[in-house]
C-alpha cells in the first residue's frame, strides 16, 4: 500500500440531537444544506481540493443514509486506488472493541487504519461544519513551524467567545492557553475543530488518553489540554474566510439563509474551489406561469407554481398554486400543496404539507428558537392545519 503523507479522519458519528427532527432519521453530516448539498460535502470537497485523498469517515449514529450517500466517494473524486474514502464503523475484536466513546476514542480505535497508510500527519476534521478551506496551506504552516499539533482557528466576535474553545497565542502563534467555553476570554481566536497532528504525537497521546479512566476521550476537552500541559509544540493556524458550525436549529437556519445574501463569503459559485455533491439525476426546474420567485435558490427537479421569496428549494421540491413560501428552507422532495402558507420554516426531506395549511403562524406567546418552525422528515401535515411558529413537529410526538 502506498504511504500517504497525510490521512484525514472525519468525525461523522455524532447524533446532532440539537437539530431535532432533521437528525432523527439520519446522522447530522447527511443533513441537506443550501439546497443541493449535504453538510459532509464541505469537508469531503475540502479534502479533494487540498490533495488529501485518504479519508477515514468515523460513523456511529444512524449511518445508513450517510453511508449510501458517501458510497465509494466517487462524487468527490475520492475513489482513488491509492487511498480513497473508508467508512469506519465501531467494531468488535477478540477481546477489545466497543461503541465509540468520544471523538478521541473513535480515532484511537482505528489506529490500525491510520498505521496501514503510515502517514507523517493526521488531520482531524468534523463532519458538521460548513466552510471552504485548503488544508494543504495549514499543513505547510504546520511543517514551517515544526509544530507537533496545529489547531485551525478563526477570529469570532468578542461577545460570542463563551460559545467556543478559545486560544491564547504568543507572538510566533504558539498556543499558550486553551479554555473551553470561557466566561471571559483574553483572546477572540476560536478553535474550529480542525487539528493536524504528527502521527507519532497523536499515537502517543491517544494511548495515554485511553489509559486515563477520568478522561472523556474528547479532542477539545482532553487531548489538546493534556498535550499543552506536556509542553508540546502546539500552534494556531489562523483561517480567514467563512466558517459555520451548524449544530443547532438556529445556526443551521442562519447559515442556510446567509447563502442568499449578495457577496456571500462561502461563494458556492466559485468554480476554482468547487463543492462537490452526490446529487440525484433530475431535470431542470420548471417555473409555472403564475409563479414568482424572488431572492431564492432553486435546485434541479423543482416544480414551482406559487410565490417563493427569501427561501431555499432543494432538489425535487413541488410548490403548488397559490402557495406562499417566505424565509423558509424546503429540503429535498418536499411537497407543498395548493393554498398553503409556509413562513420561516425548515421542512424536512420528503415531508408533505397538504392544501391550505399555515405553517409558522404567529402565536400568542413569544415563540421558541427565534420562531423557526421545523417539520420532521417524511411527516405529512393534514389539510387545513395551522402550526404555530417555533414548533418542532415530529411524526410520533409533539414537543
Amino acid at each position: 500500500m502506498k504511504k500517504q503523507e497525510c490521512v484525514a479522519m472525519l468525525l461523522a458519528g455524532g447524533q446532532g440531537s440539537r437539530l431535532g427532527g432533521l437528525t432523527r432519521k439520519r446522522a447530522k453530516p447527511a443533513v441537506s444544506f443550501c439546497g443541493k448539498y449535504r453538510i459532509i460535502d464541505f469537508s469531503l470537497s475540502n479534502c479533494t481540493n487540498s490533495n488529501i485523498n485518504t479519508v477515514g469517515v468515523l460513523i456511529q449514529y444512524r449511518p445508513f443514509l450517510l453511508n449510501s450517500y458517501i458510497g465509494l466517494g466517487s462524487a468527490w473524486n475520492l475513489d482513488n486506488p491509492f487511498g480513497g474514502v473508508h467508512i469506519l464503523p465501531p467494531f468488535l475484536g477478540d477481546e477489545e472493541g466497543s461503541w465509540y466513546n468520544g471523538t478521541a476514542n473513535a480515532v484511537y480505535q482505528n489506529y490500525e487504519f491510520i498505521d496501514f497508510y503510515d502517514p507523517d500527519y493526521v488531520i482531524i476534521l468534523s463532519g458538521d461544519h460548513v466552510y471552504k478551506m485548503d488544508y494543504s496551506l495549514m499543513l505547510k504552516f504546520h511543517k514551517e513551524k515544526n509544530s507537533e499539533i496545529t489547531l485551525a482557528t478563526i477570529a469570532v466576535p468578542w461577545e460570542e467567545t463563551s460559545r467556543f474553545g478559545m486560544l491564547t497565542v504568543d507572538e510566533e502563534a504558539r498556543i499558550t492557553r486553551f479554555t473551553e467555553k470561557p466566561a471571559h476570554s483574553d483572546s477572540n481566536l476560536a478553535s474550529m475543530g480542525v487539528y493536524i497532528f504528527n502521527w507519532s504525537t497523536l499515537k502517543h497521546a491517544l494511548i495515554a488518553d485511553a489509559g486515563d479512566y477520568q478522561s472523556q476521550n474528547d479532542f477539545g476537552k482532553n487531548i489538546i489540554p493534556q498535550q499543552l500541559n506536556l509542553g508540546k509544540r502546539v500552534f494556531a493556524y489562523q483561517f480567514h474566510g467563512y466558517w459555520r458550525d451548524v449544530g443547532t436549529i438556529e445556526s443551521y437556519y442562519h447559515a442556510n439563509m446567509e447563502s442568499l445574501s449578495d457577496g456571500h463569503f462561502l461563494n458556492i459559485f466559485d468554480q476554482k474551489f468547487r463543492i462537490f455533491s452526490n446529487e440525484d439525476i433530475l431535470p431542470p426546474h420548471f417555473v409555472g406561469l403564475k409563479a414568482e420567485i424572488k431572492n431564492s435558490l432553486v435546485c434541479n427537479g423543482c416544480i414551482v407554481h406559487g410565490m417563493v421569496s427569501n427561501s431555499i428549494l432543494a432538489p425535487g421540491v413541488y410548490v403548488g398554486e397559490g402557495v406562499t413560501i417566505e424565509n423558509s428552507i424546503l429540503l429535498p422532495y418536499v411537497k407543498i400543496h395548493a393554498g398553503s402558507v409556509i413562513l420561516k420554516t425548515i421542512v424536512g426531506e420528503n415531508a408533505e404539507i397538504m392544501n391550505n395549511c399555515i405553517v409558522g403562524a404567529k402565536g400568542v406567546v413569544t415563540p421558541d428558537q427565534e420562531g423557526i418552525t421545523v417539520i420532521e422528515d417524511y411527516h405529512i401535515i393534514p389539510i387545513g392545519s395551522i402550526i404555530e411558529a417555533g414548533k418542532n413537529v415530529y411524526s410520533t410526538r409533539t414537543s
Binding site: K36, E279, P284, H285, F286, V287, I312
Partner: protein, 373 residues
C-alpha cells in the same frame, strides 16, 4: 439483465441546424436545459438494463467524447462490458444519410464477435425519447424472431422524406417494409419504423460479412431484401419519439418541454435521463427576477425577466434583460437591459447591454457558439 448488447449510431441523421450542428453531430446538440440529444438513446438503453453499449462515432466526434468520458454518468464504466467507442467510417458525401451503415459495423466487427450475448439492440442517436426496450425484447423472444423492428402507430408526421413504413399481419410479423414513395397522405398514419431494432447477434455478423463488399448499405435495406427468408416482427411503442431535422424541429420540440404532460412522459417517470454531471450550485434568483413558464437548469444567476424559455446551466441574466420564447445554452451571459425573442443562443454567447435580438416563431434566430454581441 437482458441478454443483449447495444449499438447506437451517433452518426445517423445529418443536418446543419443553422450552425447548431455544424461543429458537432446532431447527437451532441444540447437539448432541454441540461442534456445532449444522445443522452436519450443512451439512457433508454441503460434503463433497459443494457450495460455493454457500442457507440458508432460521426466524424466530428470530439464534443461527444468530451461529454461521455468513460461513460461513468450512465453507469457504463464497467469492468465487464461498458461503453465502447466504435469509430465510424467516412461516408461518401457529407449529407448522404446512411442510417445503420453496414460498413460502420464491418470496421468494428470485434465488438460484435467478442461478446457472447444473443441479441443486439440498435438505435440511432439523434432522436429524443425515453423508452424501456424490455418490452420489445420480450416480444422478440416470445416470437423467436430473427429481427424485431420497433414501430409507432398514429403519429402525425409532417415530413415523410426519410420515413419507413411497415405492414404487419395479425401475428405482428412484418410483411412489407417500404418508404413514402407512392404513399397517399391518408396512409401516413400507418405503422412507421422508429430507427430502433433488435437483431440476433449471429445473424448480424452473418449480414455484415456477406454484405460488406457492397459498400455503404444500410441495414434496413438489407432486411427489406431478405424479408421472405427472415422472421421479422414488429413491436409497437407508445413513447414520445421526436426527430430533429430542421431548426424549427429543434425549436418546437424544445418548447414542447414547457408542457407538463410532455415532460412527464419524457423525463419525470421512473426511468431518468442521465447526463454528464458538472456539480453546479443551485440557481440563484435575485429580488429583481421575474420568471414565468420556463425551464431553468442549475448554476444560473437570474436577475432579469424570462418568459416561455429554456435556460441551460450556468447562464447569467443581468437585471433588466428580457428573454422571451428563447433557448439560451450554457454559460451565456446576457447583460443589463438586453432583449431577445425567438432566439437560440449556442453556448457561451455574450450579449452586451441594451442589444435587441429578434427572430420569428417560424424562423428563430440562431447565434453561434462564443459570439459576442
Amino acid at each position: 439483465m437482458p441478454n443483449a448488447i447495444g449499438i447506437i449510431f451517433a452518426n445517423s441523421g445529418y443536418a446543419i441546424l443553422q450552425g447548431l450542428a455544424e461543429e458537432r453531430p446532431i447527437a451532441a446538440v444540447p437539448f432541454g436545459g441540461r442534456y445532449r440529444i444522445l443522452d436519450f438513446a443512451l439512457s433508454s438503453m441503460v434503463n433497459s438494463g443494457i450495460r455493454t453499449i457500442g457507440l458508432v462515432t460521426p466524424h466530428q466526434y470530439r464534443p461527444l467524447l468530451d461529454h461521455l468520458g468513460a461513460g461513468k454518468d450512465w453507469f457504463l464504466d464497467r469492468k465487464a462490458g461498458g461503453l465502447f467507442i466504435l469509430p465510424g467510417v467516412m461516408h461518401s458525401l457529407a449529407g448522404n444519410s446512411h442510417t445503420f451503415c453496414i460498413k460502420d459495423l464491418q470496421h468494428n466487427m470485434e465488438f460484435l464477435q467478442k461478446d457472447s450475448v444473443e441479441n443486439v439492440v440498435i438505435s440511432c442517436g439523434d432522436q429524443i425519447f425515453n423508452m424501456n426496450m424490455m418490452n420489445a425484447l420480450d416480444v422478440h423472444e416470445e416470437k423467436q424472431a430473427d429481427v424485431t423492428l420497433i414501430y409507432k402507430e398514429n403519429d402525425n408526421i409532417d415530413d415523410l422524406t426519410d420515413e419507413v413504413f411497415l405492414e404487419l399481419d395479425e401475428s405482428q410479423r412484418v410483411s412489407s417494409i417500404r418508404d413514402q414513395k407512392g404513399l397517399e397522405w391518408s396512409e401516413s398514419d400507418r405503422p412507421h419504423y422508429v430507427n430502433m431494432l433488435i437483431i440476433r447477434r449471429p445473424l448480424l455478423l452473418d449480414i455484415v460479412e456477406k454484405y460488406s463488399s457492397f459498400g455503404c448499405m444500410s441495414l434496413i435495406n438489407i432486411l427489406t431484401k431478405n424479408l421472405d427468408v427472415l422472421k421479422i416482427y414488429g413491436s409497437a411503442t407508445r413513447s414520445v419519439i421526436r426527430t430533429i431535422r430542421t431548426i424549427n424541429d429543434y425549436f418546437d420540440q424544445s418548447m414542447e418541454l414547457l408542457d407538463q404532460e410532455v415532460r412527464e412522459r419524457l423525463w419525470l417517470g421512473a426511468d431518468r435521463i442521465h447526463t454528464k454531471i458538472v456539480d453546479n450550485p443551485p440557481t440563484q434568483y435575485t429580488s429583481k427576477a421575474k420568471v414565468h413558464n420556463s425551464l431553468i437548469a442549475s448554476g444560473c444567476t437570474i436577475a432579469g425577466e424570462v418568459l416561455n424559455s429554456i435556460i441551460f446551466r450556468g447562464v447569467i441574466l443581468e437585471k433588466g434583460c428580457k428573454i422571451k420564447n428563447s433557448i439560451i445554452m450554457s454559460k451565456c451571459h446576457i447583460h443589463e437591459n438586453a432583449q431577445m425573442e425567438y432566439a437560440i443562443l449556442d453556448k457561451a454567447v455574450t450579449v452586451h447591454e441594451g442589444n435587441v435580438l429578434k427572430g420569428r416563431s417560424s424562423n428563430p434566430l440562431v447565434v453561434h457558439k462564443r459570439t459576442v454581441i
